[in-house]
Symmetry: C2
Subunit: 126 residues, 2 copies
Amino acid sequence: MKLTKAEWQIMNALWEEHPATAREVMDRLPTGVKWAYTTIKTMLTRLVEKKAVSETKQGNTSVYDPLVSQRKARISAFRSLLDQAFDGAMGPLVHFLVEEKQLTPRQQAELIELLQDETEGKGETK
Amino acid sequence: MKLTKAEWQIMNALWEEHPATAREVMDRLPTGVKWAYTTIKTMLTRLVEKKAVSETKQGNTSVYDPLVSQRKARISAFRSLLDQAFDGAMGPLVHFLVEEKQLTPRQQAELIELLQDETEGKGETK
DNA sequence: AGTATTTTACTACATCTGTAGAAGGCGCCC
DNA sequence: GGGCGCCTTCTACAGATGTAGTAAAATACT
């Protein structure tokens, strides 16, 4: 389930709260994204065709729901990046993350904390 | 510098060893990718237009060199993924990595260690 | 009811992507 | 000096993407 950049915007708005109408989606787009109402409709229609969201009529108006979970979409996007840009392996990515400290010290600290929290309880290290 | 999937294939081959001719690139594509020679040429031409690679004539034949480093390309791709799919923040990504067990415990430990090393040296030149 | 507003279904259209075929030029072989 | 194989430049073309405009139908407002 490959989503394009624009589709991610829409999906992000949908995941945030759903079901939602086209107008609601529109209102929840990141400030800065200024699409015509019909553009949103077009996107939603295409997403429906792709089976990424469902459309249900509520009287005359359509309400949409994600059919693809954010989790699945993330996994898919992540895998693509890995395959395309990091030889399909975690190793190079981890290396990259650290080497290219794209992270502020603050982010690094946060990351460490998160990792430690997550690892905790995750059970016996082999 | 946004690269498409197909372009990544070409660039990966080029980064592997360069300068290289179109035919060399072709030979170094992942087994399974079976493009016509002219397809590769077209890609390379487009990459030249995009200023992602340079083209130099060697007699009648063109030899290509990356103008964009793999590092830069990776940073860009990584940032895009982050922005699109992870709210632009490392937090959600790390959470995802751990949750989805995309990281082996070993890699988690590694990441923590590397991050700690980085953080320690941050104020002082180590 | 008559008007204003919203929503929908269609259509449009320029770019970008993936994939390549055609035709012409150059060096080498016999 | 005609062919063979390789390289080049041009052109093509369908499908995906980004971004909307129009017109007509449904709903709401006064």
